[in-house]
């Protein structure tokens, strides 16, 4: 009678229930603290090394991937910065006007060169859109002709593109002034013509025009195309092609000034029609790094997420299996006096210990792989601060998430389960 009344009324039942078990009995047991449970979990996990290893495998792989990807993206960022081509980042090119109405002139280049931040600037363009000319070493003998393209370059442009000669010398601004009929040969062009040295001032002939070769260009950092071409001063170019080609002004700036010169350059080059002149400015190093970093890390974060999902699933799956195998053991613990909470805690902590193990293993393996990978890319391995702490914590978190459902399953096992095995 009394019993049924107590069971139906929820509020009264709570009040009565607390009073039902004498306090002395209540406090006699159930003193299994979280530390003691963790200790039990540690023992349980360490005595089942086979199962533990398989269980931790997924997390190990996930954390390994986490460490490798984070390490690599940090190192990649770093190497983008350090191997960033300093020359490229300081080169600005200007174009504008039409072939009949050129806007880019020597006078404009002279004004541009005076801008603060400009190291050097010059006019440079290809003749006839790189259409090759017949070039010969004898005036009326086409037996050892070569087909070569021509590049027109002012003396300052040669400096700007970083050209150097292996034989002879460059022409200077006097060449244009005094209408000197001279030419430089890129070393490939020189080979094609069979010229190895400018000693004796060899001559070349093009469309009946005689040019004296005064130097052979063996390198040009900013414009490797000229190595295969004949390079002539603007005056010579105008005689050969009529001077109707689209011109380019190339300028080298101080580090960090490229953007500024890109904005100011058109006003210096042609104060009357600055908007008709377009500047090509290289992307700044920070922009470039950000681009590389985002494209890399988007992919990597996706991989990391997938890895962690695999880690969670592998712990969860194997723990669920092991709960079924351990029904009798868990029932026994219940019979001995483990409350449902104690069981849930035990299983959760076991999963977390396994996760931690996977985290530690993954961090170690990840570090090794990452250093090897960075080395093969010739990057300096950069380890993001905190990753050594974050990675194992990630393992524990994986275990904690993976352990929830198994803990819930284990909690529902009754003491009677111990007796049915």
């Amino acid at each position: 009678m009394t019993a049924s009344r107590i069971r139906t009324g929820w509020p009264s039942c709570r009040v009565r229930r607390r009073g039902l078990l004498p306090e002395a009995i209540r406090t006699e047991t159930s003193k299994l603290g979280i530390l003691a449970t963790a200790h039990e979990a540690l023992i349980g996990v360490s005595r089942q090394l086979g199962r533990t290893t398989i269980c931790a495998l997924g997390t190990t792989i996930a954390v390994t991937a986490f460490v490798v990807t984070n390490g690599l993206s940090a190192s990649a960022n770093n190497s983008v910065l350090s191997t960033f081509n300093a020359l490229n980042a300081t080169t600005v090119e200007f174009q504008g006007g039409t072939s009949h109405h050129p806007l880019l002139t020597q006078a404009g280049v002279a004004r541009l060169s005076k801008l603060h931040g400009v190291v050097s600037a010059g006019l440079i363009w290809d003749l006839d859109q790189q259409q090759p000319y017949d070039v010969s070493r004898q005036p009326h003998d086409s037996s050892n002709d070569a087909e070569l393209s021509f590049t027109a370059a002012s003396a300052s442009a040669l400096t700007t593109i970083g050209a150097t000669t292996s034989s002879g010398r460059m022409y200077d601004s006097g060449a244009d002034l005094h209408h000197q009929m001279v030419a430089l040969l890129g070393y490939q062009a020189a080979q094609a013509l069979g010229i190895t040295s400018v000693r004796g001032a060899p001559a070349i002939f093009v469309d009946g025009v005689a040019l004296t070769v005064i130097g052979i260009i063996d390198s040009a950092q900013q414009d490797t195309e000229v190595l295969a071409n004949v390079v002539v001063p603007p005056y010579v170019a105008s005689i050969i092609s009529g001077g109707t080609d689209e011109r380019t002004v190339i300028a080298r700036t101080r580090a960090g000034a490229a953007q500024l010169i890109g904005n100011q350059g058109p006003y210096a080059l042609d104060p009357y029609q600055p908007t008709a002149i377009q500047a090509a400015v290289p992307p700044s190093p920070t922009t470039l790094r950000a681009q590389v970093a985002t494209s890399l890390s988007d992919l990597l974060h996706l991989l990391e997420l997938a890895g962690i999902a695999v880690g969670i699933l592998s712990i969860a799956a194997i723990t669920i299996l092991s709960i079924n195998q351990r029904r009798s053991e868990i029932g026994l613990l219940r019979a001995l006096g483990y409350r449902r909470l104690d069981i849930a805690r035990l299983i959760s902590l076991e999963a977390m210990v396994i996760g931690l193990l996977g985290g530690i293993l993954g961090t170690s393996i990840g570090m090794l792989l990452f250093v090897a990978a960075a080395d093969s890319q010739q990057w300096t391995p950069v380890i993001p601060a905190g990753i050594i702490v974050i990675a194992p914590v990630l393992g524990i978190a994986t275990g904690a998430v993976a352990g929830t459902y198994p803990a819930f399953l284990a909690m529902r096992i009754t003491p009677m389960a111990a007796l049915r095995s």
Binding site: L20, G337, P415, L419
Partner: protein, 256 residues
Amino acid sequence: MSALAGPETKRSLLSLDRIGRTYGGQPAVRALSTASFTVDAAEALAIIGRSGSGKSTLLNVLGLLDTATEGEYRVAGVQVADLPDHDRTLLRAAFFGFVFQQSFLVASRTARENVEMPLRLRGMQRREREQRATEALVSVGLEGRAGFLPRAMSGGECQRVAIARAIAHRPRVLLCDEPTGNLDEHTARDVLRLLFRANKQGMTLIMVTHDLAIARAFPRTMSVRDGRVSEGADSFLAAESLVTDLAGSLAAASTR
């Protein structure tokens, strides 16, 4: 509290009033019905009955491993049916120690760790826990096996470890379900001696058996037959004599 514990039940440690247990299923099995009796502190009680009669069912209800579906069961005056699972677990851990036919040791734990389990639940400090565990292992003569895993011990040794575990925390009641069922006669006698010694020290001993010889060693016996519990071994003997008659007639038939 005092209102719930009647004047009569207050004296007894365990008191059953028309306890029944029906296992749900197709068909439902009424394994225990209208069991009414009391057990006092420090008593020694044998429960005897044939296989399938409901002995284990009764013992599991007594030990709070299982819940009765009918009637009222009080432990030290506490009405068990009203307790939430949490409190029932506390009560079980405080009052009962179990020894089953199989030893049910945790396979991954050594003998000592198995014995320490109920002690840990009491929040006992390491030194006291180890001392108690050693004491219990010494009392079953297994101090030399403390560091052994169950798989490295014989069945009899495992059973003695299970007894050490059941008595280490000094429960009020020791519940045994055919503890000697898997043991040879000699080992069985050792185990029984241990259990009686625990009883002498003040632990209530309740043992399920289907062996009349063992039951006779107890001052009090109860029989279970088809889920009905009665005082004394008479009902069991009546059933047993039928079996003997049957065996006799079979033997007679085969010799003829």
